[in-house]
């Protein structure tokens, strides 16, 4: 078991803070922790499936039509998940519904397919998918903690004392997302550079 | 009187001209003079004396080495005691002749007077070259070169530079008051050689007595006039002076002759008169001594080659109770801070300023706040702030595109900069690198052509 493939996505090669893939959904749904986890889990599942399938078929895919094939695989996967969720878990679908179609255009999925699953064994690709999915989820959650607590005065929907009466609405809005994203990225870089310079 | 004119940009630093009323005092010959062979822009002369030689005052010590070059002369009678590298006021060691005086009183000058204006042009130029004349405003460009423009650049106007826009300096001011006839005679000589139709003497309004005097003297002279100018730095820059007096712009990278003008300093004009009428070489000049550290500030006629320390001592020395912090050769804006007072006064030395901490304290550079004052101040209408950023980033090509080579290092931007940024320093570096790069490119081009 190659643990490196599993752990790299969580921190060292975090898809959001380092590779900077999938920033649009990250900013769009990081307004609450529930959304962040929902999106993160959904994306992880899709990533897992697409990575697995693509690494399985990687040898047979003609190089010229690599990307279209990946897109077809990913889109099929996402549509299936969307439909099944709507059919069998309507409550979950109602809260995550709008994010699922977003996953198709989440660059992480195609990015990992192209950068990793394309060249690695199914086992490694699964690990990579889990790691990257976790990294994505963690990054979203980190952004969401700030945005939900500061911007909505809640933590997982539970009102936070002191802040709940006067939340900083900016944090909920798009600019606030960028601020938090930027500051967290800077902090990550700062840590990566070995703390104080 | 003409209307007051000026140029765009520039600024008005405080005058500090305390010595405008002090008549020129001739100083006795010093015991020793150090005469660098390079006191002008261009090739240094070739020495024609050797250690041990006895020289007369006014005897040539070198001969010009090429066209853009000028000889230097012994400024006291005595014996050559050394010929070698000595510190030059510009901060680099260069070949100089050291003469120790005999201490004997100098013979009275023998008045050989010819009517210079009746001499042929070639003879005038020859006498000017022989006298070792260079621009005495500080640029020290050999005078005879300026008087020999190429045939395709006809000169219609000569402007005498009596602007003296540098704060604190009054040497030219005094000269205009005390030797106006020599100056006018010099102007006429220059105009005759260049076949110029008009002659102006540009003087700033802060010298009304000089304007009045010269205006009176020029009354009746149809083609000569005084051009009173608004008080503004750096009006004494050639290009700014031409813009102010004639409203002509010297093209970027060009010379005044490109717009049909030759500019001479008033002190040079007086020296031209001496050289042509009396065949007196350039052995002395008027130097302003000022600053809160000196006992007797004033304007002094000094032998070229006099070490600065001896010059100061001859005027009465420094005040013992005011610590000397900075000595500047030249004016406060473009002058050079001396690190060693044994360097000599040269042909281009217009002033020596001995400053205490009150005047010369070091100011700490902070951060640019983009106030835009440097842009307002730049007489060449450059963008000093952006140029500095480009130079700091070593983007030489962009700096060249923005006209770094047009910078004349007048210091207006650095004077006004509220952040005290060392702008001039950057530009000196930038110009050097850009020129070096150009030369390298030209060489490479040449090598390829071969």
């Amino acid at each position: 078991m190659n643990t490196k493939e599993l752990t790299k996505g969580i921190w060292a090669e975090n898809p959001i803070f380092v590779i900077m893939l999938g920033c649009c959904p990250a900013l769009a749904v990081s307004t609450s922790l529930a959304n962040a986890f929902g999106m993160g889990i959904a994306a992880t599942f899709v990533l897992l499936g697409s990575n697995l399938i693509i690494s399985l078929i990687r040898a047979s895919v003609p190089d010229k039509i690599r990307i279209p094939v990946y897109i077809v695989v990913i889109a099929t996967f996402v549509t299936m998940i969307d439909k099944f969720m709507a059919a069998f878990t309507p409550a979950l679908s109602a809260s995550l519904g709008i994010f699922i179609p977003l996953i198709v255009v989440n660059c992480i999925i195609l990015g990992r397919a192209e950068a990793f699953a394309n060249k690695n064994t199914p086992q490694d690709s699964i690990l990579d998918a889990i790691g990257m999915g976790l990294g994505f989820t963690i990054a979203l959650a980190m952004i969401a903690v700030f945005r939900e607590v500061l911007g909505d005065g809640k933590f997982f929907g539970i009102p936070v004392p002191l802040i709940k009466d006067d939340p900083c609405l900016l944090m909920i809005m798009a600019p606030g997302g960028f601020f938090v994203f930027g500051l967290l990225m800077a902090w990550k870089k700062h840590l990566a550079a070995g703390g104080a310079k | 009187m003409l209307n007051t004119r000026t140029f765009s940009g520039g600024l008005h630093p405080p005058d500090l001209k305390m010595t405008g009323g002090a008549a020129i005092v001739p100083l006795p010959p010093p015991r020793k003079v150090i005469i660098p062979l390079s006191q002008h822009i261009g090739a240094p002369g070739k020495p024609v004396v050797a250690v041990g030689d006895t020289v007369e005052k006014g005897q040539p010590l070198s001969e010009p080495n090429g066209f853009v070059s000028a000889p230097v002369h012994a400024t006291i009678a005595g014996k050559v005691v050394a010929l070698g590298n000595f510190m030059h006021p510009l901060g680099v060691a260069s070949t100089a002749v050291v003469i120790e005086g005999t201490g004997e009183p100098e013979p009275a000058p023998s008045p050989v007077a010819t009517d210079g204006l009746s001499l042929p042009d070639d003879e005038i130029k020859k006498r000017i070259l022989a006298a070792g004349l260079v621009g005495m405003g500080g640029a020290t460009f050999p005078t005879h070169v300026k008087l020999s423009p190429p045939a395709n650049k006809p000169i219609d106007t000569v402007i005498l530079n009596g602007v003296e826009c540098e704060p604190a300096l009054t040497a030219d001011h005094r000269l205009m008051l005390e030797e106006p006839d020599k100056i006018i005679s010099g102007l006429k000589l220059v105009m005759k050689v260049l076949k110029a139709k008009k002659g102006y003497i540009g003087i700033e309004n802060n010298k009304p007595d000089a304007i009045r005097l010269l205006d009176e003297k020029l009354r009746g002279e149809e083609n000569l006039a005084v051009a009173p100018l608004e008080v503004k730095y750096p009006q004494g820059g050639e290009k700014q002076l031409i813009a102010a007096v004639l409203d002509r712009e010297v093209p970027s990278g060009g010379l005044p002759m490109d717009v049909g003008v030759v500019v001479q300093n008033v002190a040079t004009a007086a020296a031209i008169h001496d050289a042509v009428f009396h065949q007196i070489p350039l052995t002395e000049r008027v130097v302003t001594l000022a600053g809160s550290c000196v006992k007797n500030p004033g304007n002094y006629r000094v032998r070229i080659g006099t070490p600065v320390s001896e010059f100061i001592a001859a005027t009465g020395g420094l005040k013992p109770d005011v610590p000397l912090v900075k000595v500047i050769s030249g004016g406060p804006m473009m002058g050079i801070a001396l690190f060693d007072l044994n360097v000599p006064i040269i042909k281009g030395t217009s002033g020596i300023l001995c400053w205490s901490a009150a005047e010369g304290a070091l100011r700490v550079a902070t951060t640019c706040i983009r106030c835009g004052r440097c842009i307002e101040a730049c007489p060449m209408r450059l963008l000093p702030q952006r140029l500095k950023n480009l130079i700091d980033a070593q983007r030489w090509a962009s700096a060249a595109d923005l006209g770094i080579l047009d910078c004349m290092e007048c210091g207006s931007c650095a004077y006004i900069c509220p952040a005290n940024l060392p702008l001039v320093q950057s530009f000196k570096l930038g110009k050097k690198v850009v020129l070096a790069e150009r030369k390298r490119e030209a060489d490479a081009q040449k090598a390829k052509g071969k």
Binding site: I65, V73, T76, K83, A87, D152, I172 | -
Partner: protein, 266 residues
């Protein structure tokens, strides 16, 4: 050339597999999804029109904002006794983040009986307050009885906008106005239809309160009222919808007052 055929073949196979999978998915999920949606809508309908047990669909021809013809689907609600309680419809005004789907219940006199937000994509913490404090306050104002101007106060209306979410609030008000307008325009038809079941005897026990789908219209009601030829007759099948509107041009129910200014309460 060979290469081209090869890749084409590959793409074809992949697409075919994907297509098959999707077809299978659709087959399995479509009925369930439809059922889920219907349940949700049903719940909402009952919520916004309290007391209604049975709903009847009526499609109305109307025009959208751009003036193009459009069809609006109304549900007419009846209580267990078959009394007409009002209309329910879904309006979808354009909010800040996309359409806001609002289920709007209106009483026969035009007053708002209930409002429920079905889905929206407004900014969490801002526009989403539509579903929180805003809605309660809105209902309070809307049910207060006096003529209600469904505009935010900034625009001269009676509704308190959500601070910093004026766009959402305005959209919400616009949705309500649109819904009222549709009902007003379709008044005649609605009354005809409402009258029909009322004239009939009580439906049989089949119309139990728990019955989830009492009135799935086998044929959608006509968009433009055709001249109905059949007089009202007692429905043979209690499950079937009431027949098409009666010929009676005079509505038996009192004319609907203009909804916006008057809504004089119960």
């Amino acid at each position: 050339m060979n290469d081209l055929i090869q890749t084409g073949k590959y793409l074809l196979i992949i697409s075919a597999i994907a297509g098959l999978l999707l077809a299978f998915t659709e087959m399995v999920t479509a009925p369930r999804i439809a059922e889920n949606n219907r349940l949700v809508l049903e719940k909402a309908r009952r919520e916004v029109l309290p007391g209604a047990e049975r709903f009847d669909t009526l499609d109305l021809a109307t025009t959208d904002d751009a003036g193009h013809p459009a069809t609006r689907s109304l549900s007419l609600g009846f209580d267990a006794q078959g009394k007409f309680l009002g209309t329910v419809q879904t309006v979808s005004p354009k909010g800040y983040g996309g359409p806001i789907d609002i289920v709007l219940g209106l009483k026969p006199d035009g007053a708002v009986s209930g409002v429920k937000i079905q889905s929206m994509r407004e900014t969490p913490g801002l526009g989403t307050k539509l579903a929180e404090g805003f809605l309660d306050k809105f209902l309070e104002v809307a049910r207060a009885g006096h003529p209600v101007k469904f505009f935010v106060k900034k625009d001269g209306g009676d509704i308190d906008a959500i601070t910093a979410a004026t766009i959402s609030s305005r959209a919400f008000c616009k949705g309500i106005r649109d819904g009222i307008k549709v009902v007003q325009e379709g008044q005649t038809l609605i009354q005809q239809r409402a009258a029909a079941p009322g004239a009939t005897p009580l439906p049989g026990p089949a119309t139990t309160p728990v019955a989830p789908s009492p009135a799935p219209a086998p044929a959608p009601a006509p968009v433009v009222p055709p001249a109905p030829s059949v007089p009202p007759a007692p429905p043979a099948d209690p499950e079937s919808p009431p027949p098409a509107p009666t010929v009676a041009p005079e509505p038996p129910a009192p004319p609907l007052p203009p909804a916006i200014p008057q809504g004089g309460g119960q």
